[in-house]
Symmetry: C2
Subunit: 417 residues, 2 copies
């Protein structure tokens, strides 16, 4: 894409009303726009990151047989009323214009809707198991939304729901989702810790969270130094300096961001919506369910929290809005032909031909401005063309300090396209 | 996809609480689920159709330089208040849990948000023109939502906004969007009539609608039999039996479904949000805007209204959830090897290998049930394998009556893959 055409611009300073690094960098670099506290627009660069994350998540959900669908945001009052969640604090209520009392809640989560829906299609044990997911907007009335995309009042989530004949089959699938989740986070550049946690408003069982260890995280977890065991402070029976119950390893307290969670729901929602199946003996049993979430916008924020320096964002290649930032520095456009070198425009076109995603800074701006912007936006590879580089290209990876001078062919090789 | 794995099922009868053909067929065939009046879930088959439409729309919007983004559904009261639209009847209001009066409206349209947002980035004439779009959920508090996906209380829309220095540049882009819209509708199988209309709550100018002529349409338009001129009854100065003002052709009254609209907004929103640019002389001028909508879910409904028969939906290939419905009829799985023919499973795998999207009905069900379901679901090509077909495949196009017996190689040729 031509940067001169991009309607957003970077800002010289950080926004004054944001505390969290993710919001400070994403707003300043033109990835997001704050509409109100906890409510953001995804601008073209930010939306590209979201699309990258969504593509990764879709691949992993499809790979485990998840069927994609899309449920509404307007939830008739009957849904949350059936499970006693209508009056949960964080639920936004919607007026229908006629009644003084709210008629709908806004999609906070979708267990109720998908359970009712499943009861239309599930009758026999032969209809089980299956799983379905969506990538959709969720709403949560946070009293103090101050962590940027980490805790929004409106945010994007992938939620998967699974349906089983018994706990054993749920356990089997639970482990499959666990692996798929590790794949998602790994591909997004996040090392997640599988953490035992409480069920909150969702279930009375223990659940599991995927926690990214990060100083700005709102969660506190206890992680064993020896084995893979971790648990959330909320349910922890361990003291900060204690020992792991599994292996006697030393326990470390860490701040962490919850990027995903998986909940064994049991029959809580099946009972509320009469979701039952007939088994081989003709007996009716409640369907056993699981629910599995990944905060897509929160994941984007977590990547920024983990990958930035004082100059800007340092996107992992897998989720960067573009792979390459091509900069034409002042004077370069004057005479590429005379200098016998490829013009930046030609490099831009040739890279696109072989499928490389390039943001080409073709603006009339100073070298300093372009270089500062490139660091702030944080694409993985920076290519500079200027009179100084002759018929070569100056290449710098955003996450390394060294710059190299390369031929176009060497650049192609480096990019691996 | 294996039909035995699809969690939805077709129903034997039409839903009792739906009047519109689109909802009757889509619900019965398992494409959508009604959560409340005008509020639907898109089930796996229905979601695939939406994704096909979204892909077409994206391609056409990207081709004219539209920059994709995503704005929120929660709109702070300040937005609609600034343009006097807070009290428009169809706007849903949201309570924030603290104040007795609503603090937000739900996204009915996004002119206000994008205008404020643009004012952060547009300063000079050099920042113009540009256009940005999103594909996002809209809400509209319809008092009587009874037309299925044609008029929902929650629906999916593509909305594009454009920003210009003057009316002349807006006019230039307006024509470009017009052509892109014709492309979208044509690719989706819809012949749209470009119709002069009023601006409603959006603008005081005349606007244009893209109308699909269809008996169940809620709009009445007057179409010239001779030239391309058409106008909506709401603004018409023509009588039903009159003559076209452009060419004296005879005027015909038609019922039609509005599948898209384009609005020249002028400076209405720019004035409200102080969106101005400095021209070459250093003078400040309001930015001139346009807005352009396509109802994605309504388009899906329109396709169903236009393409169905008494047996079910007849999807155009471009938007069908799968291209091929492969049916294995009773007995077929017993001995494909003995009969020296390709098993249905092998045909399924081989078609997928060459990129054909196939729904494979591998269920243990009667021939009658499978054939009835295939007609109801309405995929473009039906392939039947049974002991009767020997080492050949019985092929029928959903929109033709004749069946043909073909070899696998001939089928591949027919499918054009």
């Amino acid at each position: 894409m031509l940067q001169s055409k991009l309607f957003t611009k970077t800002e010289r300073t950080f926004p004054k009303d944001e505390e969290a690094a993710n919001a400070r960098f994403l707003e300043r670099a033109g990835f997001i726009y704050k509409n109100s506290a906890g409510v953001y627009s995804y601008l073209p660069l930010g939306w590209r990151v979201i699309q990258k994350l969504v593509a990764i998540i879709r691949e992993e959900m499809d790979a485990i047989g998840g069927q994609e669908m899309f449920m509404p945001a307007l939830h008739d009052k009957r849904y949350l009323s059936a499970t006693g969640r209508w009056d949960v604090d964080v639920v936004f209520k919607v007026l229908d214009g006629k009644n003084p009392k709210p008629a709908f809640s806004l999609s906070w989560t979708h267990e109720e809707l998908i359970t009712e829906l499943a009861s239309k299609y599930v009758h026999s044990y032969k209809d089980l198991p299956f799983s379905a997911y969506q990538i959709q907007t969720k709403f949560r009335n946070e009293p103090r939304a101050k962590s940027g995309l980490l805790r929004g009042r409106e945010f994007m989530m992938k939620d998967l729901y699974s349906f089983h004949r018994d706990e054993e089959d749920l356990d089997r699938f639970y482990d499959i989702v666990k692996e798929a989740y590790f794949n998602v986070f790994k591909r997004a550049g996040i090392q997640a810790v599988y953490t035992l946690a409480a069920g909150g408003d969702f279930t009375s069982s223990n659940t599991h969270e995927f926690q990214a260890i990060c100083p700005v995280g709102e969660d506190t977890i206890y992680v064993c130094s020896k084995c893979a065991y971790a648990e959330n402070k909320e349910i922890s029976k361990l003291s900060g300096g204690g020992r792991c119950p599994k292996c006697e390893g030393k326990i470390k307290e860490e701040k962490a961001i919850e990027v995903g969670n998986i909940f064994p729901l049991g029959a809580k929602y099946s009972d509320a919506f009469d979701l039952r199946y007939t088994d081989e003996k003709g007996e009716k049993n409640p369907v056993v369910m699981g629910s599995y979430g990944i905060g897509v916008s929160r994941l984007m924020a977590t990547v920024v929290e983990m990958y930035h320096d004082e100059k800007g964002i340092v996107w992992p290649e897998s989720v960067a809005p573009f792979k390459v930032h091509l900069l034409e520095l002042a004077g370069a456009s004057a005479s590429p032909a005379e200098a016998g070198r490829k013009s930046a425009k030609k490099i831009y076109e040739d890279l696109q031909k072989i499928g490389v995603e390039v943001l080409y800074d073709d603006r009339k701006a100073s070298a300093g401005e372009k270089l500062t912007d490139a660091d702030l936006i944080g694409l993985p590879f920076r290519l500079v063309v200027s009179p100084k580089t002759g018929d070569k290209i100056e290449v710098k990876k955003r996450n390394e300090e060294i710059t190299k001078i390369m031929s176009f062919e060497e650049v192609i090789k480096l990019l691996g396209n």
